[in-house]
């Protein structure tokens, strides 16, 4: 395996972008998934939503960047993947749209029905992509029917197979656990206690399901490289560690290692793919690889320079945001007032 070429570098960079996306948006999806379970009243829900308030939009840009980078570095991969996985991506888009406006609009009008509607928008908008991203990635790894022109020839139901569904449940659990660990870190009072308890409950289930998914991936893999095995083992060990830390209520370390689990799991998928980016289940010869799907050397060089200059800066100021908003959020500030109360004349009933 030759790792010293631009195509491979970009394959690694795209894996890094997806790791960033799944780790960061993963926990904000998770908070959304937990909204109906942990947010027992409006104050609790607002407490939860405000823990991810400053972050979710920046987290979502990791997805846009992964998409843009795939377009720029591997146009064939981008074209086949996005046109082939049309309906799942369409559903993900609907979910992300509804979810994004829900955060912004929820507090802008004072009515219980209004808030309830947007609460459900947040839940559905979080659960649906949490599952579908796992389904999509599992299908990429498993291989889908692709013809000689690089076009996807399967249908929608091709994508709903056992392995992919297990992948979907795995990401749903991983993200929800991330959300619980994050809430444990970022809240005070009852919410923190409940979040820690939820993480303790979810962690072993997540570990078991993730282990099942890892084993299925390894069992299906055509040839098992040592790197794939290392990543798989890493994901399994870290996942157990997260469960132990969650059991002990050490949510800070648990959350950090959860990032490790996601990194190792995504790496396992990417390493097992390489040098393919989208294996064809029709014929190996039709598989898209990092070499036949990539852009020209010039474009890759330009993009490498841009990425190497900008990515560290992005990481710096995003980390800084997390530092600014590191304070735990209590529920008291949400108990009496909704944002609407702070606008004069908005709430004549004085509720």
């Amino acid at each position: 395996m030759d790792w010293t070429n631009l195509e491979t570098l970009w394959f690694v960079l795209i894996a890094v972008l997806w790791i960033g996306y799944f780790f960061l948006e993963g926990f904000d999806f998770g908070v959304g998934n937990l909204l109906p379970f942990l947010g027992r009243d409006d104050a609790g829900k607002r407490q939860m939503i405000n823990t991810i308030g400053p972050f979710w939009d920046g987290n979502e840009v990791w997805l846009l960047t992964a998409g843009g980078a795939t377009f720029a570095a591997f146009p064939e991969w981008y074209a086949t993947l996005f046109s082939g996985f049309y309906l799942p991506l369409f559903i993900i888009l609907l979910a992300l749209i509804v979810r994004g406006v829900a955060f912004e609009f929820r507090g802008k009008h004072d009515s219980d029905r209004w808030r309830l509607t947007w609460d459900w928008a947040i839940v559905v908008g979080s659960v649906v992509p949490s599952i579908l991203w796992g389904v999509a990635f599992a299908n990429i790894v498993r291989g889908v029917p692709i013809d000689a022109d690089g076009e996807y020839t399967g249908g929608f139901f091709n994508l709903l197979n056992g392995y992919a569904l297990l992948g979907g449940i795995t990401t749903l659990l991983l993200f929800t656990l991330s959300g619980a660990l994050f809430l444990g870190l970022r809240t005070t009072g009852d919410m923190q206690v409940t979040a820690v308890r939820t993480a303790r409950l979810l962690a072993p289930i997540t570990t078991a399901v993730a282990a099942g998914f890892i084993i299925w991936t390894l069992a299906d893999a055509a040839d098992l490289g040592p790197l794939t095995l290392i990543c798989a083992a890493g994901a399994a060990v870290l996942s157990v560690a997260v469960a132990v830390l969650a059991y002990r209520g050490m949510d800070g370390w648990g959350f950090a290692l959860q990032g490790g689990v996601i990194a190792a799991a995504v790496s396992m998928l990417f390493v097992s793919l390489y040098p393919n980016v989208m294996p064809s289940s029709t014929d190996d010869a039709f598989s898209l690889t990092v070499f036949n799907a990539s852009s020209s050397t010039y474009t890759l060089t330009v993009m490498t320079i841009v990425a190497l200059v900008l990515t560290p800066i992005v990481l710096l100021y995003q980390a800084w945001t997390y530092h600014i908003f590191r304070a735990r959020i209590g529920r008291t500030s949400f108990e009496s007032k909704s944002p609407v109360d702070l606008i004069p004349g908005a709430n004549p009933e004085g509720k």
Partner: protein
Amino acid sequence: MEALELARWQFGITTTYHFLFVPVSIGLALTVACMQTAWHRTKDPKYLRMTRFWGKLMLISFAVGVVTGIVQEFQFGMNWSGYSRFVGDVFGAPLAMEALAAFFVESTFIGIWIFGWGRIRPSLHLASIWAAALAATLSAYFILAANSWMQNPVGFELNEETGRAEMTSIWAILTNETTLYAFPHTIFAAISTAGAILIGVSALLILRRKDVEVFRPSLKIGLVVSLVGVLATMVVGDLMGKQLVKVQPMKMAAAEALYETEEPAPFSLLAVAPFEKQPERSSFDLAIPGLLSFLAKGDFSSEVKGINQLQAEAEAEYGPGNYRPIIGITYWTFRLMIGAGILMFLLAAIGIYLWWRNKLERSTWFLYAAIGGIALPFIANSMGWIFTEMGRQPWIVQGLLLTSQAESTSVGAGTVATSLIGFTLLYGVLGIIAGWLAYRFIHRGAEDAPETAGPAAEADEPDPKLKLSY
């Protein structure tokens, strides 16, 4: 309908919709950043109230703009995989740069701005709105560079082996002449949009005698912003037109329904023709002699090529086919864009005259007109883009790739119809909700300034009040 046609409708609807919000967000972000700077400098609570009022309005627009933007990036691959394969090497780079250089800054710092009131130093908080506003402006640069390449492909070569366009110079792409005109044209249009909203909303609240101490100065700021913005948009637009004649002569001829090459060429005021039947001349054309020659080339007597000659030239170069866009659409969108722009200019100019004569608040007719004027930038912005994109047809990349070659062959009409209906319904509902929220919010007027010296005083509280937050 065929999948291709449905995909075009979807692109048209989602893009036009997205661009209703983008100029509002960019224009208001820049304006709000200026207002907050004024507050930071003077500590006058009036500016703080302005910042928060217009800032919240901006956020409503921002929310819809951001979420509908994701669709934009995805649908190139979803519906236009033929296009994506052909141009990815060139077109993907500015898109990825837009995400890395602009979207990250924009989304992160708008979050800091929303949630940072009272948590961070006021100067840092001020810097965060500037960072978000400038990043939004920068994002426009990258996406316009990508679009300009479709209008005027530069900095590439065709790879004979793969049949694809490959980038040879990123510098040429980022300094494409079309981009250098399209970027200021778009940004000034966004500033004019903010101006028209400032004028119209302030007029509404002044008519209702609500928080006049905030909306009187807001109206005046709006008038200045609008006048400068519209004038600059027009000047750049004129230069852009001259460049258009060079790189996309068919689009310009189609904008004028100029069928025959003429020297000098007249500017059409009202042309009537059965455009859908691809006629070879207008049935009726009221025109100002020589004006098109002047607009296109800078003197009143020069030659401007007509549709018929350009069609013949295109057939000679690319083979048989119809290389004319739909003339009725290009002709009317171009006129509606310019017409709305002229009305925006008049509104701002009359407002400034009334202000100078000290009659601004008493001229209720003007204030009512200003409320109606809110619609103008939305008309101008949408029509401008529909003209730009429809005028390039049948090409998706001018002279290189036809729209008919660009679709996703693996995606059937039923699938595209599903997403077309889904997006259209969802966007419709969102538009109604966002409009209703904005309407209600506007009617409440500006909140009072915080009793303390400003948001900084909130910093000491363990649980700062989340005023702009969720």
